[in-house]
């Protein structure tokens, strides 16, 4: 029973005894029918709007001056890419992403090791770590804002949210707090796949705990680390909620998503805003591409697909 339970469905299928063409055809049809609703909804609400956004980005399309709407080609993109505000947002987004993901990797790994090794309070610690994950990002952002602001906080009269460094630090700390649990759970799952015999063998050979971590544990969970980094980097790059609540983009902390939101919703300039959002979209694709090619992360393999 155990063997058949773990065998992938596809292998059992192809290796199955007698398979008639009719049956294969019926299976194909059922498969398509079952998958169709999900595929159609995802296409309708994602692919269609993104195409529409590409179209809008080629127009001067400002809802406040609808009479001036006109096809402008790539003018919106030129305007954005030559503007200091855009590059400031790119810098802010990159700084927040790189620093917070780097810190998350270190803390997340430490947490994963504790969760992996802890004997007492195993349940407590796993429950505790899920609390930041479950808390609404906006609420977490408020919690940290209230904690550091002089009129509601506990760190005294300094106001980190009144300057650039402090604003970035607060935003990054909030992001780290909120998303490290997710990172550490992914790493924990990777940790569980490292064979215990390897650890024992290294121990017998006299390796210290530190050496075992660097020479045995980490190399063996490389794919889990890369997947965790990729997921978090892509997620961090679209950061919006925390910045909106804590600084509203002041002190050079406006991110690309925030810039897009301001153009699209606050100033209803759909042409310019769409161009910003398409550029963000392309950057996300580029990051994913770099990860997959640069680190040879085979998402198919690590995501459990054959």
């Amino acid at each position: 029973m155990t063997a058949t339970t773990t065998a992938p469905a596809s292998r059992k299928r192809s290796g199955g005894p007698v398979k008639t063409t009719d049956r294969a055809k019926a299976e194909r049809n059922l498969g398509l029918k079952l998958a169709a609703p999900a595929a159609i909804i995802m296409l309708l609400v994602t692919a269609y709007p993104i195409c529409y956004a590409v179209y809008l980005s080629l127009f001067r399309y400002d809802l406040r001056v609808p009479e001036e709407n006109a096809f402008v080609g790539l003018d919106n993109y030129v305007l954005i890419l030559t503007s200091g505000v855009w590059w400031e947002a790119v810098l802010a987004t990159a700084v927040i992403t790189v620093i917070s993901v780097a810190i998350e990797l270190v803390i997340g790994l430490a947490f994963a090791l504790v969760m992996h090794r802890a004997i007492f309070g195993r349940r407590t610690v796993r429950t505790a770590i899920l609390i930041p994950y479950g808390i609404i990002t906006v609420i977490a952002a408020f919690a940290f804002r209230f904690a550091v602001q002089p009129d509601t906080g506990f760190i005294g009269d300094v106001n980190p949210l009144g300057g650039t460094i402090g604003s970035f630090a607060t935003i990054i700390i909030t992001e780290v707090w909120k998303t490290t649990p997710f990172m550490s759970l992914l790493l924990l799952a990777g940790l569980a796949t490292v064979p215990e015999e390897l650890q024992e063998a290294a121990k017998v050979d006299g390796a210290t705990a530190w050496q075992r971590l660097w020479k045995v544990t980490l190399p063996n969970m490389k794919s889990a680390i890369l997947v965790a980094l990729l997921f978090r980097a892509l997620d961090a790059f679209r950061i919006f909620d925390t910045v909106y609540v804590q600084t509203a983009g002041q002190f050079k902390s406006q991110t690309i998503s925030g810039l897009g939101y301001n153009a699209l919703i606050s100033r209803v300039n759909l042409g310019l805003g769409s161009a910003i959002s398409i550029l963000l979209f392309l950057m996300i694709i580029a990051i994913a591409f770099l990860f997959v090619k640069g680190f040879k992360t085979n998402l198919g393999t690590v995501k459990g697909e054959d």
Binding site: A9, V125, I136, E196
Partner: protein
């Protein structure tokens, strides 16, 4: 192995062996236990501190909000009374619960069909569907709020429940499909074949044999999808303008903006606690399932 242990079995695949192995290993090394105990304490403190600060603020009357103390000197439930009587919070709370529950129900049902097909059937476009879903999960929401804003205004979906449920579906579906497909792969398919030998159609085999076995996985993905909808902010502030559909995260953000003269900190904190407590209870009760669901399929195990 009985049907009900299957969910637990697959969770065990990633966590239980480690436990068995390390308990032994750690016991061999005297003194190493203390490090892990301290580590545990650090993690618990890390997770709880901001929540305790918010809880403390929510219990402080407006005059005490600035005292910087973790334990309120004059604890009162005044902030909670205020948010539940003002209506500024009650309606968004109803919207949040309604929209999240409806999205979760629809997304999980549709995703269950797709995940079943992915885990079980050979059909063209399977790999495309999976990678497409993964791509959408990584998609920046800001890329589609502009077009949705425009289309929703034209079609009357702006500032309505369906206007939020639809975009939530796109992001909820990939989450649910990945989680469910990972769970579905662990189901003993022999049972389904047995049902088909007994004369059940593939659909009957799905509904009567596999679905009951798959319910733990379905439930897990429902929790994860619900937390996603509950958390969304960008769609909520972009596609709503009034109380008709504004959800709690959006309402909380505008809470501050609209009342500059009274310090709304205590009330925001109270609202934060009200929307956080159900999640904490859910996490406490379903901890194992959520951990399994979040990492489902992330690492081959």
């Amino acid at each position: 192995m009985t049907a009900s242990t299957i969910g637990a079995e697959r969770i065990g695949a990633t966590t239980a062996p480690a436990k068995a192995g390390t308990t032994k290993g750690a016991a061999k090394q005297p003194g190493s236990g203390a490090i892990w105990k301290i580590g545990t304490a650090v993690i618990v403190a890390y997770a709880l501190f901001p929540v305790l600060w918010i809880l403390s603020l929510s219990l402080k009357p407006a005059a005490d909000v600035g005292d910087g103390k973790l334990i309120p000197t004059n604890p009162s439930l005044g902030n909670y009374r205020d948010i539940f009587t003002s209506g500024e919070f009650v309606r968004p709370l109803i919207n949040s619960i309604g929209i999240s529950l409806i999205t979760t129900a629809i997304a999980v049902v549709i995703a269950a069909f797709a995940a079943y097909a992915i885990a079980r059937l050979d059909f063209p476009g399977k790999a495309l569907l999976l990678s497409g879903a993964l791509a959408i999960a990584m998609f920046p929401p800001v890329s589609i709020i502009g077009p949705l804003f425009n289309i929703w205004r034209a079609t009357g979906l702006y500032d309505t429940w369906p206007g939020l449920i639809l975009p939530y579906m796109t992001f909820a579906l990939p989450l649910a499909i990945w989680t469910l497909a990972a769970f579905f792969r662990e189901i003993p398919w022999d049972l389904e074949q047995a049902a088909q030998v007994d004369g059940a159609t593939p659909y009957q085999a799905f509904r009567k044999v596999i679905l009951p076995l798959a319910l733990p996985g379905v439930f897990t993905s429902a929790i994860i999808v619900f937390i996603f909808c509950w958390n969304d902010f960008l769609f909520a502030i972009s596609l709503t303008s009034t109380e008709a559909a504004r959800t709690v995260p959006a309402a909380t953000a505008f809470f501050t903006a609209s009342s500059n003269f009274i310090n709304p900190t205590g009330q925001i904190a109270a609202a934060a606690i009200v929307v956080t407590v159900p999640i904490i209870i859910m996490v406490l009760v379903f901890q194992r399932r959520i951990v399994a669901g979040l990492t489902a399929g992330a690492v081959k195990g």
